[in-house]
Amino acid sequence: MKRRRGSCVLSALVLAAATFSVAGAEEREVGARPAADSPEAGLWVLSDKAESEAKRSAELNTSAELREYVRSVACKVAATHCPEIRVYVFDRPFFQASMAPNGYMEVWSGLMLRAESEAELAFVLGHETGHYVNSHSWQSLQAVKSRATGAMFATVLIGVAGAVASVNAGSAAAANGGSAASAVNSINSVTSGLINAVYLGTVASLFSFSREHETIADAFGYDAAVKAGYQPSAGVALWQRLIDETAASDFPKVRNGQARTSVFDSHPVAADRVAALNKLAGDQTGGEEGKARYRAAIRPFLGPWLRDDLRRRDFGQSLFLIDRLGAGGEDLGVINFYRGEALRLRRKDGDAAAAEAAYREAIRFADAPPETWRQLADFAERRGDHAETARLLQTFLDKAPNAGDAAFARMRLARALGAPAPEVAPLAAPDPVAPPGSPVPVAVAPSAVSAALQADLSMPTANGTRP
């Protein structure tokens, strides 16, 4: 969640833009639309296009219940603007919500996973509504336009685009995944920065908001959430947790940078924003939290969203998030499984043992995914414990007979059931073509395992039957 290249220039620019007069900018009227020949209409039509593409995006979360839930929360904080808002939830593992000038609102799964209550979600959506109601994207566009020379803008905009694109999940190339564009883009670092605003789905992304805009939006979000009956301290808690998560990152650059409330923000969640919110909240207590309701809404997606988060490969942050998600004592099967996955993938000293322990903890709970048993089978196989391997694989297959690798698991099960007693030491990688029928001990090296697999396919299982 960090920006690269040109961020210094852009920050300077946008800081300069902060002095651009916001005075005179009025809150938009309910139901207002810009005149067709006004420049603002251009932003509007772009937002319309982004929205129609979003409907077909590969990353759109298609759950109607989830969408309706988020929309209902957005409605509570948007008050009179509620009818103008259309909500789209995206399965993208970054903290992001934004609202385009035409009322098209995006919320990313990275945010949904990090908010811990309906009150926190309400605050963030209120914050975004604040940008919308005060036409901040339009102001940003004007501010950016009125500055400097074209050459400087080229650098700045390429820098922004590069930073933005580089943020997207696991993709080495530009946001336009899987297409020739992203492939060509990787040749030249200039082109690799090109973003596709339609993919990112928000016009606002290219025009980061000024510090002043962010403060206004924070205050608006706070007011809107409190008016809707939510707990006043929710915003503070969320921003603070983002700061803590940033500090937990595997990467020094991220740790030494600052937390950001949006992947496109040039303005971090600095201490002053948290202090300002704290001041507003004061000692007030009361107000709704909606913790249980919130968890119930996101529960079906915990697994897939954590899987996506792991793809970012910042295990420090993922483990921080996993710990927070498990703090309430719910969903511990899923959560411990993903703790195991994070540790297994991180591979620091001691992580393998910790991963196995996490998987063992997960299977104590009813919601442990079937893959937990398959992962435990890998550990048992490495140790040469055939009986345990077979037992674990059988459980996996009982729970997920149609898994993508079920056939493969059946092969391994057959081998574990039919394997002779293991030799003492694991083999080094042998000649890949093993003579059929020769007893091949269970070994750590994968090619040895596959050699064994080939050899044993022709052998019946120990009890003479096929699984």
């Binding site: 296009k49 129609s52 077909r56 336009k145 074209g150 050459a151 530009a174 564009a181 883009n185 082109t191």
Partner: protein, 225 residues
């Protein structure tokens, strides 16, 4: 029409192209009089290129250009004795149709990259197809052919023109405005791309009916209808 299309447009703009029209090397039937052609809603993106280099999208330009080119396409098709049916890809409900339309976008981009610029040794003839999915579009809409129009570009403002002079003096090249249009004709029952044309608008302004009319003459020239 993403960054990829810009690159391809840039290639066209830079004059790296050979001929602008491409015709399928496989023989095909011209649609008989009275058969229906599906006119896909033109996908046009236009912006004002301001002095500072920021492109300002213009809704009104996009709407006019789309309308004008649509009208030109309709007029042309009707002049060839065809029935015209307009189709908005964004409104397509059917999953298969949506996939075929997305595939068409990928095929068009591939044509612009390889048929017009960097040739593929594995493809020595102009032989591009959407496959048999196009039939589902034919069946649903009762059409024989489909015409796709894609356009994008910018128009310089006066300030931009000044900036170009200034920058040139400073030794920095800054692009001026320019618009390009790509049109392709697909035979729906086979999915084959029968004909494409890539055109630089030049002085013909598609935002205006007269400009669109002149542009249409180059655009639909040689269209095998």
């Amino acid at each position: 029409m993403k960054a990829w299309a810009i690159c391809a447009s840039a290639i066209v703009l830079a004059g790296c192209t050979t001929t602008a029209t491409k015709v399928a090397t496989v023989s095909f039937e011209k649609p008989g009089a009275g058969s229906t052609i599906l006119l896909m809603k033109p996908d046009i993106t236009l912006a004002a290129l301001t002095a500072s280099g920021v492109g300002e999208p213009r809704a009104d330009w996009m709407a006019s250009a789309s309308q004008n080119l649509s009208a030109e396409a309709r007029e042309f098709a009707q002049s060839k004795g065809l029935q015209v049916k307009e189709f908005d890809p964004a409104a397509a409900e059917d999953q298969r149709v949506q996939q075929v339309i997305k595939l068409n976008s990928a095929v068009s981009q591939s044509i612009r990259m390889h048929a017009y610029a960097l040739a593929l040794p594995s493809k020595t003839t102009f032989d591009w197809t959407l496959g048999d999915g196009a039939k589902s579009l034919a069946d649903r809409e009762g059409a024989t052919y489909a015409l796709f129009i894609n356009g994008s570009g910018t128009y310089s403002t006066a300030g931009r023109a000044m900036m170009q002079i200034f920058a040139a003096a400073a030794g920095v090249g800054i692009a001026g405005g320019g618009q390009s249009v790509f049109v392709s004709l697909v035979e729906l029952k086979t999915g084959r791309v029968m004909w494409t044309n890539a055109v630089l608008a030049g002085p013909n302004d598609m935002r205006k009916p007269e400009g669109a009319d002149l542009l249409a003459k180059s655009l639909f020239k040689d269209a095998p209808l």
